[in-house]
């Protein structure tokens, strides 16, 4: 028998960089953030321990109430919107199209290109007077088009539209992989029984795809709480905070106001909400996901 250290030395050496990374950039920051969330600390001052004050303030202040509401509204547009759209697109693509490689790339392109660059293109498209969108709407006879990014009612939906546009291709690829595992004979049988397209979609496609759909749902929920780049490049959270979601609010508090403790508490609230959503998802999983 070789001594233990000689047997395990190779594995430890191979794992060394990953373990250093795990400790320094994951475990330490996760704990540090948690500790920070109980302090009042403006980065240039001395930190002072304030217990649960940050959390209490977050849960009672009207500003963070608005931010949490914005986060929920964003998620309620983004999650159903992107999943419904990617599901329909994936099933159309899966219905034997000769040029599906072209369409797949066309839909996936927004996901892999530079976020800031495409968001700026959208900013130009949303421009109230000279933008492509409002001029297209005018050509269709809609003259009372909103000012989009300058209008508190429409700024957040605009951020959601760009986010959906960007991510749909990614979800579609994941769903397409799931669709390709469904046995075509189910559809044959359904067709012989005379089931129509919509019925086949809800009775065969959705149940048999439920595992992929569950996976996509989890990813979409996680991503819906983490929108930063698009918000930053499109609206900077405005006008009047109308498009400030939790992730953006954390950035603002930590790196513009340098309220490190308060921002850390916000981050832990975000983490808690995500954990809760994931648990709820897993709880309902057996109701609709077929193994």
């Amino acid at each position: 028998m070789t001594p233990a250290w000689r047997r395990y030395a190779p594995a430890l050496i191979f794992l060394l960089p990953a373990l250093v990374g795990l400790a320094v950039f994951r475990l330490v920051p996760i704990l540090w953030s948690f500790v920070l969330s109980f302090y009042d600390w403006q980065i240039f001052d001395q930190p002072s321990f304030t217990g649960l004050d940050n959390y209490i303030h977050i849960l009672t202040s009207p500003v963070s109430g608005q931010v949490l509401r914005n986060t929920a509204v964003f998620a309620l547009i983004y999650v159903p919107g992107s999943i419904a759209l990617s599901l329909v697109l994936a099933s159309v693509l899966n219905n034997a199209l000769r040029s599906s490689a072209f369409f797949r790339s066309a839909l996936f392109l927004p996901y892999i290109t530079s976020t800031v660059a495409v968001t700026l293109a959208w900013k130009w498209i949303f421009s109230t007077r000279f933008g492509l969108l409002n001029n297209a709407l005018a050509a269709l006879g809609i003259d009372a088009a909103p000012a989009w990014l300058a209008d508190p009612t429409y700024a957040l939906p605009a951020v959601a539209i760009v986010s959906i546009w960007k991510d749909v291709g990614f979800y579609m690829i994941l769903l397409l992989a799931g669709l390709q595992t469904i046995d075509p004979t189910y559809y044959e049988a359904a067709r012989i029984d005379g089931a129509r397209v919509v019925r086949r979609f809800f009775r065969i496609t959705v149940p048999l795809l439920s595992r992929s759909l569950f996976f996509v749902l989890i990813i979409a929920m996680v991503r819906s709480t983490q929108t930063f780049e698009i918000t930053y490049a499109l609206t900077e959270g405005g006008p009047n905070r109308s498009s400030t979601t939790l992730a953006y609010f954390i950035y603002e508090n930590a790196f513009i106001h340098f309220q490190m403790g308060y921002a850390a508490a916000l981050a832990y609230i975000l983490c808690f909400l995500l954990g809760l959503l994931t648990l709820v998802n897993f709880y309902f999983r057996r109701r609709w996901v077929h193994e």
Binding site: L15, V24, R26, P29, I112, A121, V222, F255
Partner: protein, 282 residues
């Protein structure tokens, strides 16, 4: 491929929907490209024209040359290329070593470590970024490329996961044969298994490169000298300085998008395999 929808009407509607959505999906790219070939006066013409008017003048690339030379995009581009390349190479290196160890080498408790790496990947960036910033400040790394490279170099749950699967799927006998010859573990890894894992290594590299090229938050926090700006940061600093110069801005956007489109086209197979296999970023 025998799953056609019933009736020509339904088929037409589905095709129609797909074509319309594909057009919407590509429209911002087309508009970006057209705008990048317009002179300032043509931008504010109503209704907007789809004619890339600069192409019909003596200086078709005017917006590009302003942005590239005078606005220093050549520097931003070089910075982004350097940072993304280093970060991606580092990630491949660390993830390959770790993935191999998790798949192949004996170590008690290695599955627990692997589970911790995966679990911590689900903790949102917002939680770790504040202490990360404080760490970088403590190291004296602010306003250098190190905070953009080192974390990506050392942390890659998705890449580790993917390469662990890949190494586990390769046959074991090569290693047994080599061990009998007295080859050291690192030699076995380096000479036999690493070359075999090439497709997975390319996936991890390309996805890491794209993610780092796209990164906005870290450059925003860590870089203050314009000479060190990456492309996304350069683009945004341009927006705040030259609000209405959409022609030049869109030229900059095309420049920052083009490398990713080229990489995607060249490595599409690996990228799609990577994304649909792992699905998790980071």
């Amino acid at each position: 491929m025998n799953r056609r929808v019933s009736g020509p009407g339904a088929l037409l509607a589905l095709y129609g929907f797909l074509v319309v959505y594909a057009a919407l999906s590509l429209m911002p790219f087309a508009w970006m490209l057209i705008t990048s070939f317009k002179e300032q006066a043509a931008l504010f013409q109503l209704p907007p024209s789809f004619r890339p008017s600069l192409l019909f003048t003596d200086t078709p690339m005017a917006n590009y040359s302003v942005i590239w030379n005078e606005r220093n995009f050549v520097t931003f581009f070089r910075n982004s290329a350097f940072v993304s390349f280093m970060a991606a190479i580092g990630q491949v290196f660390t993830c390959a070593l770790a993935g191999y160890a998790f798949a192949r080498l004996p170590l008690p408790g290695k599955n627990v470590i692997f589970a911790i790496i995966l679990a911590t990947a689900f903790v949102p960036t917002e939680v770790t970024i504040i202490p990360e910033f404080l760490l970088m400040r403590g190291f004296g790394w602010l306003d250098t490329f190190l905070p953009l490279i080192v974390p990506s170099f050392l942390v890659g749950a998705f890449g580790t996961f993917m390469l662990r699967e890949y190494f586990a799927s390769l046959p074991h006998d090569y290693a047994e044969a080599a061990r009998m010859d007295g080859a050291r573990e690192f030699r076995i890894f380096w000479r036999i298994y690493l070359p075999l894992a090439q497709p997975a290594l390319i996936s991890v590299f390309v996805i890491a490169f794209i993610n780092n090229w796209d990164e906005l938050l870290r450059p925003l926090l860590y870089l203050t000298s314009p000479d060190l700006y990456t492309v996304p940061l350069g683009l945004l600093s341009f927006v705040s300085q030259y609000e209405a110069a959409w022609g030049q801005l869109m030229a900059g956007s095309v420049i920052s998008t083009l490398p990713l489109i080229i990489i995607y086209v060249l490595t599409q197979r690996y990228v799609l395999a990577g994304f649909s296999g792992g699905g998790v970023k980071g």
